[in-house]
């Protein structure tokens, strides 16, 4: 414990309640941190790659999640250790930024930490290690740029995109029908993509799931699917050429927000108010009708009377539609969200070719399909599956695939997967290491070794001999000067990832290396851990 003394020789307290805190300093602190980081990486290691296993997570409330997605596993893991929390953050930021490769980035960081531990044991200062890693990561990222390939795709040629999405999906439980799902994801992204600006607004893709049916029944709906039904059981279930009024005001008696008081003290007042009320309801419905709407979608509820009036005037309506869905409907149908009945005009109505209600299974689950919209820039992916966990996992997988497709539209460079990019980088970093004078050289070599961890984990998960396979592939890469050799996870018989059509996005890979390096640098720089001790 650090003890300081003041000028009279009395002990001077630096930390509050110093005795109750445990404190780790220097090399011990670093080693403890590294071992915590490694432990997290070890959990995720077996989930990597097409033959990776899933994790089953039980939440505090007893809900079960089965997943293969690194970010999801870490998020739900109930982590207490600070360093482990950093790793969780790491995976999350990869998820936000790229959407895919969340497992890879943690495994990468874990192996960087492992190498750092060895270097620290040799007495190399942590800062020097961190600097060496920094240099090495730059080399690796530049090398990735060199070995990357651009490929062309267009609305008519989506094959390359589909292939890349399939690589992402192949590690998930849904790989049974990865082809279908990959196509759905790519079509969805292309439908909402702005190819000029090279941007995709993923919010426009709604992913909705419903248990039951088979995974193969998953479909892409060019329109919106809302988990709601018509407000009145006798309204028509099918509307063609619908003109949709999108309202955010309730079909209810108005309640001014300002403080008010209406006192009824005479019979006349009572009667006028009553007449007014009736007229009010009538007006509301009439305004919708006057604007030419044939379907009303409302964010709020309906009064019974209004509901009947709508029914009576033959104006189907949907109530309690959520804000996000309302926006999507507005985008898809080209309508405007109208906050007040007075502002309803024919121009503000959305248009859809077909609105229909569809029921599922034996319970009275119904969903509303809004299709053939004026503006098909909003789509819905509607997932079916055997059970709730399956649906949740499919949603996550689809999200990953969507992100990959989006990244490709932003930047159409790809690198080859199956560990080939990592091996190639490792070779490049290794050879560059010799040119650096000083202690950093060791750190750079360590980095190169760490890069081997991903192909190694891939091989291990696929049931291959990890060291044997890795060295064989590495020597093949050097001999043939072919950076596209990787681990043959699916036992296809070739190491060349070009033939196997295993792609990953360039930015995804670069981001993985950069993020992992950053976090490792941060962990290495910590030399003092102060935590309240257990009591």
């Amino acid at each position: 414990m650090a003890l300081a003394f003041d000028e009279f020789g009395r002990p001077f307290l630096i930390l509050k309640e110093q005795e109750q805190k445990t404190r780790l300093r220097g090399l011990d602190a670093q080693k403890a941190n590294i071992s915590a980081g490694k432990a997290v990486a070890r959990i995720l290691r077996t989930s990597l790659g097409p033959k990776g296993m899933d994790k089953m997570l039980q939440s505090p409330d007893g809900d079960v999640t089965v997943t293969n997605d690194g970010a999801t596993i870490l998020e739900q893991m109930d982590v207490d250790n600070q360093i482990a929390k950093l790793m969780v953050e790491l995976s999350r930021s990869q998820d936000y930024e790229i959407g895919d490769g969340t497992t890879g980035v943690v495994v990468m960081a874990g192996s960087l930490l492992e190498q750092a531990e060895k270097l620290l044991e040799r007495g190399i200062h942590p800062i020097r290690v961190a600097e060496g890693y920094e240099v090495a990561s730059r080399i690796a990222v530049e090398h990735l740029d060199r070995i990357s390939q651009k490929f062309e795709f267009g609305p008519s040629n989506i094959e390359p995109l589909v292939q890349t999405c399939m690589t992402t999906l192949s590690s998930k439980i849904v790989n049974r029908c990865k082809r279908d799902l990959a196509e759905i994801a790519v079509k969805a992204v292309l439908a909402v993509a702005d190819l000029e600006r090279r941007d995709v607004h993923l919010d426009l893709i709604k992913v909705e799931g419903k248990v039951g049916g088979r995974l193969e029944d998953t479909e892409l709906v060019y329109g919106i699917v809302v988990d709601k039904d018509m407000s009145h059981p006798q309204m028509p279930k099918r509307i063609e050429d619908a003109k949709i009024a999108i309202l955010t005001c309730p079909f209810e008696p108005p309640k001014p927000k300002t403080k008010h008081k209406v006192d009824i003290d005479t019979v006349e007042k009572f009667q006028t108010l009553r007449v007014q009320e009736q007229k009010y309801f009538d007006d509301m419905v009439q305004k919708c009708k006057d604007a030419g709407a044939t379907l009303v979608i409302c964010q709020w509820g309906f009064d019974d009377e209004a509901n009947h009036l709508l029914m009576n005037r033959n104006l189907p309506a949907v109530r309690w539609v959520g804000g996000v869905e309302l926006e999507l409907i507005a985008i898809a149908t080209g309508g405007r969200i109208v906050p007040r009945f007075q502002e309803l005009t024919p121009e503000k109505l959305g248009k859809a070719g077909m609105v229909r209600e569809k029921s599922f299974g034996t319970t009275k689950d119904r969903m509303l399909y809004i299709e053939q919209c004026a503006n098909s820039r909003a789509v819905t992916i509607f997932i079916r599956g055997g059970n709730k966990m399956m649906i949740e996992e499919t949603k996550r997988s689809i999200h990953d695939a969507l992100c990959v497709a989006r990244n490709l539209i932003r930047n159409n460079s790809i690198v080859y997967g199956g560990g080939s990019a990592e091996i190639s980088c490792s070779i490049a970093v290794e050879s560059a290491a010799d040119r650096y004078p000083g202690v950093e050289q060791y750190a750079i070599r360590g980095f190169a070794d760490a890069l081997d961890a991903i192909p190694m984990a891939l091989a291990e998960n696929s049931g291959l001999q990890p060291i044997e396979t890795l060295s064989a592939v590495k020597s093949q890469q050097i001999k043939e000067n072919n950076p596209f050799c990787g681990i043959d996870c699916n036992d296809v018989g070739t190491n060349d990832m070009r033939e196997q059509n295993v792609f990953e996005t360039l930015i995804g890979k670069q981001q993985q290396i950069l993020l992992a390096t950053q976090v490792v640098k941060m962990i290495l720089k910590i030399d003092d851990v102060i935590s309240p001790s257990d009591y």
Partner: protein, 527 residues
């Protein structure tokens, strides 16, 4: 340096073999639990709730049993979930799906012990499931075109479903009931329009299907008890003091006389409303909400039958059968569609008075009145009937039919076995295991019936070696019988859902190599 704890206190982590073990054991325990309820001679379970009253449920329905269990094992929860989905999706086969998934995992455990990687097992299972589905598809019979045969198919399916339930004594009767009810729906799968009323007393045989509509309500006092050629207005409106809701108005007066005046105005308003309703030219008025004494009196004066407090489902169904619309405002009587029926009368079932609407325009809804010795019997009868109705309504849409009694499992097992022989590599072990798991279902059916399962299944297998064989287990006589003659059929949709969901669930559990359990959320300690 020891590895620090990464997780919070009480959170636990199980890895590799141990995790797999935990999930296998959990899943198999669940499967074994419901196993004994499978088949026509399956036994029931008593479930006692931990809530107040310690209510008791006696049931044979897999989904109901599993729903009521408190389970801590994560893998077991997956199985409970698939059974629930099966219930929602097709209604029947909730036990079979869990048993099949359990058997698949049992086989997988042996393979894992023999050092075959779970991923290999999964890919083998997938191939097998696909192959089994094809085998089924080739053997389906579709009688949609022929109304007569289709109806008899439906009856057979209903009888097969019911034969494993409490209703099996009167299955002919109930099968006919269920088929009649479903045929009325005309292809819609909305079972809401079939109302089931349970009245204790009498015996199960006394249950009947009423082609009209029965409302579990009483007729207001002093109002006619029998109306012929009724015009019915179905409404959802407040018939108590009709408040003025606009602008949050409230009553505020300064003298007694004014209160009286306003009260008078209120009454006047109600009288007007009633007058408007009467002016629709009706002689029966059904409201979802309460009808207070004052308007009730007015209705009685006008000779109108007023029924209050019919619940949501009640009025929706009533609107469906009578063809009226649910009204909430009464200003334009000419546009409101009224419901019609030939006769409204009060009937007695047991001790209770009910209102029957018969001779209705639209026959799309109907009522089944269940009678039985006790509440438990009635509850179970309702669940069984619900299963049968679900299956039938699904079959009406997807009219493909298979034989039952273990026949489809044998067909699938045979095809899958062939596939195993053709497939090179380790996968063939998994495919073989799949076929063994399929065979487990007829074995369990036979075991539950107290028959010599090994002998029977072996005989069945031999029978199935011939082309176009219809052999299955005849539980009643305890031998192998011709399913076509015995009239045991099952819906293709149910079998397919069982096969696919069970495989999917088994796959999901197999893929897991680590279980992380978070610390249970602390309940707040209320003193």
């Amino acid at each position: 340096m020891a590895i620090e704890r990464i997780f919070k206190d009480e959170a636990s982590e199980e890895k590799g073999e141990r995790a797999r073990m935990a999930s296998f054991v959990g899943a198999m325990a669940i499967a074994d639990l419901v196993k004994t309820t499978l088949g026509p001679k399956g036994m029931d379970k008593i479930l006692q709730s931990t809530g107040r009253g310690r209510e008791v449920t006696v049931t044979n329905d897999g989904a109901t049993i599993l729903k009521s269990l408190h389970i801590d094992n994560a893998a077991a929860k997956v199985l409970v979930d698939i059974s629930k989905v099966q219930d929602d999706e097709v209604g029947d086969g909730t036990t079979s799906v869990v048993v099949l998934a359990g058997e698949l995992l049992r086989e997988a455990e042996k393979l894992v012990a023999a050092k075959i990687h779970p991923m290999t097992i999964i890919s083998g299972y997938r191939m097998a499931a696909e192959c089994a589905r094809h085998a089924l598809l080739q053997k389906v019979v579709d009688n949609k075109e022929d109304a007569e045969t289709f109806r008899s198919d439906l009856t057979k399916i209903a009888m097969t479903t019911l034969s494993s339930k409490i209703l099996c004594q009167d299955k002919d009767h109930f099968a006919k009931l269920a088929v009649d009810a479903v045929m009325r729906l005309k292809g819609s799968t909305n079972l809401e329009s079939i109302q089931i009323i349970k009245k204790p007393g009498g015996s199960l045989k006394d249950s009947f299907l009423d082609d009209g509509f029965i409302l579990d309500k009483k007729i207001g006092i002093g109002q006619p008890k029998r109306i012929e050629n009724a015009n019915i207005l179905v409404a959802n409106t407040a018939m108590d003091t009709d408040k003025v809701k606009i602008y949050g108005a409230r009553v505020r007066v300064d003298s007694m006389s004014k209160v009286a005046e306003i009260e008078g105005a209120e009454k006047e308003k109600m009288r007007e409303k009633v007058q408007k309703i009467i002016s629709h030219g009706i002689n029966c008025f059904v409201n979802r909400q309460l009808i207070y004494n004052f308007p009730e009196e007015l209705f009685a004066d006008a000779g109108i039958l007023a029924i209050e407090h019919a619940d949501f489902d009640g009025i929706e169904r009533l609107a469906l059968v009578t063809g009226g619309e649910i009204a909430s405002t009464f200003d334009n009587p000419e546009t409101v569609k009224l419901g019609h029926c030939k006769l409204i009368e009060e009937i007695m079932i047991g001790e209770d008075k009910l209102i029957r609407f018969s001779g209705v325009q639209m026959g799309e809804a109907c009522t089944i009145v269940l009678r039985g010795a006790s509440h438990h019997v009635l509850d179970e009868a309702e669940r069984s009937l619900h299963d049968a109705l679900c299956v039938l309504s699904q079959t009406v849409n997807d009219s493909r039919v298979l034989f039952g009694g273990g026949w489809p499992e044998m067909i699938m097992a045979k095809e899958v076995d062939e596939l195993a022989r053709k497939t090179p590599g380790k996968k063939s072990h998994a495919i073989e295991a799949f076929s063994r798991a399929l065979l487990a279902i007829p074995t369990i059916i036979a075991d539950n019936a107290g028959l010599d399962s090994a002998e029977l299944v072996a005989q069945l297998r031999a029978e199935h070696h011939k082309e176009g064989c219809n052999a299955g287990i005849d539980v009643i006589s305890g031998s192998v019988g011709d399913m076509a003659e015995l009239g045991i059929s099952e819906a293709f949709k149910v079998k397919q859902a069982v096969l696919l969901s069970a495989t999917e669930a088994a796959e999901m559990i197999l893929r897991v190599d680590e279980i992380i359990t978070c610390a249970p959320r602390q309940r707040e300690n209320r003193m």
